[in-house]
Symmetry: C2
Subunit: 104 residues, 2 copies
DNA sequence: GCCATAGTTCGATAATAGTTGAACAGTCGG
DNA sequence: CCGACTGTTCAACTATTATCGAACTATGGC
């Protein structure tokens, strides 16, 4: 039976600006968001070398609960994607500004 | 002798995106930035009721070190202002997106 | 059914951030 | 020069966040 692995995602209208800004304020989370701007990834592909999967999962949770990413089951794996349209609708221009910022 | 009360401010080119996002991710700091978008304020005018001045000063420090605000001596007081042009130069569109976001 | 795989959740600990009163440093008016 | 005034800094405490191993859950292949 499928569906029991669904995780909660906030509605677009409920996204809180400070929560989104906080989720993006961590360098490793921001780097992941920049990679996700290229397209969805499986969770395993989201990770950086030498980072335990529980740590990655924690960052994914922070991003998901802020409404920055979507995390959906896909067979034995999960797809992680940027909620680009939702963010643009709720906070127009924000994601473009963040993604367009110069490399540090 | 004047000038001994100058506080350090980062150069525009040195502003770090995650630091700016973090500074803006606190509701009370974000509210202050929104008020400063209307124009500069003295420190005392920045404060909310029942907040000790040491707490306010701490938030001002976070915003100043991230490069979001400028805090300059002015006689016995200080003027706090938004570094709007500097932020626009370094992170185009970011401040507009944050200031244009819907009220929570 | 059984096992390997993918990833979350739990629990403990470490690190960072927020809050506050008290002490301190300049500035201005007498 | 002295006191009142504005605001920062310090030090201690609390609270939130990050990190990570271990336990756990669902899935798909055999």
């Amino acid at each position: 039976m499928a569906g029991s692995r669904e995780l909660p995602h906030p509605d677009t209208a409920d996204l809180v600006l400070t929560d989104v800004l906080f989720a993006l304020s961590d360098p490793s989370r921001l780097a992941l968001v920049q990679r996700l701007a290229q397209g969805p990834l499986e969770v395993a592909a989201c990770n950086q070398p030498h980072v335990p999967k529980s740590t990655l999962s924690h960052h994914l949770k922070t991003l998901r609960e802020a409404g920055v990413i979507r995390n959906v089951p896909h067979g034995r794996q999960r797809y992680v994607s940027l909620r680009r349209e939702d963010l643009d609708e709720r906070f127009p221009g924000l994601l473009d500004a963040v993604l367009g910022a110069p490399e540090q």
